[in-house]
Amino acid sequence: MKETPLSNCERQFLLKAIEEKKRLDGRQTYDYRNIKITFGTDYGCCIVDIGKTRVLAQVSCELVAPKDSRPTEGILFFNLELSSMASPAFESNRQSELLVKLNRLLERCLRNSKCIDTESLCVVAGEKVWQIRVDIHVLNHDGNIMDAASIAAITALSHFRRPDVGIQGEEVTVYALEERDPIPLSVYHMPICVSFSFFQQGTYLLVDPCEREERVMDGLLVIAMNKHREICCIQSSGGIMLLKEQVLRCSKIASVKVTEITELINKALENDRKVRKDGGKFGFAESMPKERITALKTEVAPVEMTDIEEKAKEIICRTEAPSEVVSSPVVCAPGTGQVGEGLQNSWGLEEVDALEDDVGEEREEQDMREQLEEESRNAEKGDVVVISDSEEEDVVILHEGTQVKHVKKQSVDSQQLAPSTAKRRRRRKKQVI
């Protein structure tokens, strides 16, 4: 599906509003939309909402052989997907330019900043290491996917626990979650992306652009930073020239935003930990907004089972029992048999020539193929003796009257091609004889 195009007056309206330091949703220039983090029942699963943008992250792990160049390090793998649910313009399973860009940025932000201790993921040096896979699905696109994805990824990684492993000699046993408490990853720091969009060749700047704002912006600057005010990655795209002061100003804003967001993540993680420890209810089912009128929840509903058995018996009794008598198959040649008297196919049919008239190109092709095969067959003539020559008649007489049926069939249904198999077999036999 195509994206709805943005009309010129909409574009002008947006730009005008930005010039007047106003935003569509009433935010100030440096304001983020509301950020909400909810966790699933699984470890390493979270949904992050920034305003209406919604992203789902799930971390999973697997034991694999390490890379040859780094035999003692675990592998981190990121996979961001732009689901077609998020926007009609996204096509699932297609490598669009935006997708490649986002994935690359995510890798630079989280893998290259070495925020996860990959050495602790080594099980047997050079043989088995944990591969940590982060799947991020964009569920609703309302701008600023990058920030949402980076928050979701680092939150999920901090929330994730991998199963414990034991090594006895050469045997590596992976303990189930019930057997041994799973182990969290060691997270050194939490890099978080902050996006700045620029308008009018960099004159105006907005933090956390929404989808509309993204469509009219000239350029984008993404700064990934952790709460220690260390820049992990910085990227400017869209082809705008920025002054040194602008970048510095942005990094200052980013440091404030990152501190706020990190605090939020830690609080969310702490809450979830507490609920799990206390044995309370957790998971997405619990975080459903109950006060909204678009949402409804019910309790466990019992299903009546009283007269189920009678009902089932009644239905079975009312139906005719399957007939015991079945038609017997006809074995026309060793290894070939036929059952049923319905529409006959043309196997074991003598008169192939009768069909020759009403076949076009396909037949020619088939003939070509057959010729080729014949040649190859001639070469290995000796091996072909499979069918004894006595069954020549057997093949033809299936039932009395079948012959008649065949002929009738052919005249009625001119499209039915005799499969070349019949012909081939005949030829084969002649050669044998």
Binding site: D42, D142, P302
Partner: protein
């Protein structure tokens, strides 16, 4: 929490139960219709786009083209998802009056949020709620019910992942709202004819509860006029 629930269900198995349901509609801003359906811990998010323009190669001259995508949480969708997509798509096609929107496309995307058993039935329920939210014309509603038969031959409706693993047969039906007929059926494991008929009967009973839930949530949604 899981264990507590399982223990409870085994005790009360003579009258089997559906886990607690939850549904939220219109929760995403971009799709034309969206819903999230929750059955116990199993959760599926659905989004519908359409009717919209269709690619010429996929155009059907007398009705709308429906595409269904099921996206697993981890990894790419594979053969299993393709088979499930087929089931969901053909069920939706039976319910939708797609001839009212000829030469257009409808696309339904289902994102698995959490799988704790009865996934396909949850997908069907989420799909139906999303189609309703999108305001697409439908001849009837449908719902999905999963039944498991455990080792002792007892029927468990809406099984959890654990119960699915312990079962010897598993069936998922889609039931329509007008005549309680079986729209879709897919099974795993072997079972007798009697067991099948019992499961169909149980699913038809269970569908009443689900349709009642549909009705309640729609009633709640339109309880205030804006």
């Amino acid at each position: 929490m899981h264990n507590a629930r399982n223990a409870m269900e085994v005790e009360s198995s003579s009258t089997c139960a559906l886990r607690e349901f939850g549904c939220e509609q219109s929760l995403l801003s971009r799709p034309d219709g969206s819903s999230s359906f929750i059955q116990g811990d199993t959760s599926v998010l659905a989004g519908v786009y359409g009717p919209a323009d269709v690619k010429v190669s996929k155009e059907i001259h007398d009705r709308a083209t429906l595409e269904v995508l099921i996206q697993p949480k981890v990894g790419m969708s594979g053969v299993r998802e393709r088979a499930q997509e087929q089931c969901v798509r053909e069920t939706c096609e039976a319910a939708l009056l797609s001839s009212l929107h000829p030469r257009s496309s409808l696309s339904l995307v289902l994102q698995i949020i959490h799988d704790d058993g009865s996934l396909l039935s949850c997908c069907l329920n989420a799909a139906c709620m999303a189609l309703m939210d999108a305001g697409l014309p439908m001849g009837c509603l449908f719902c999905g019910v999963t039944c498991a038969i455990d080792r002792d031959g007892r029927i468990v409706t809406d099984p959890t992942m654990q119960q699915e693993k312990e079962s010897r047969a598993l069936m998922t039906f889609a039931i329509d709202s007008t005549e309680r007929k079986v729209l879709m059926s897919t099974t795993k494991g072997s079972f007798s004819v009697n067991e099948l008929q019992q499961c169909i009967a149980v699913s038809q009973r269970a569908s009443e509860k689900i349709f009642q839930f549909y009705r309640d949530s729609v009633r709640r949604r339109y309880s205030k006029t804006l």
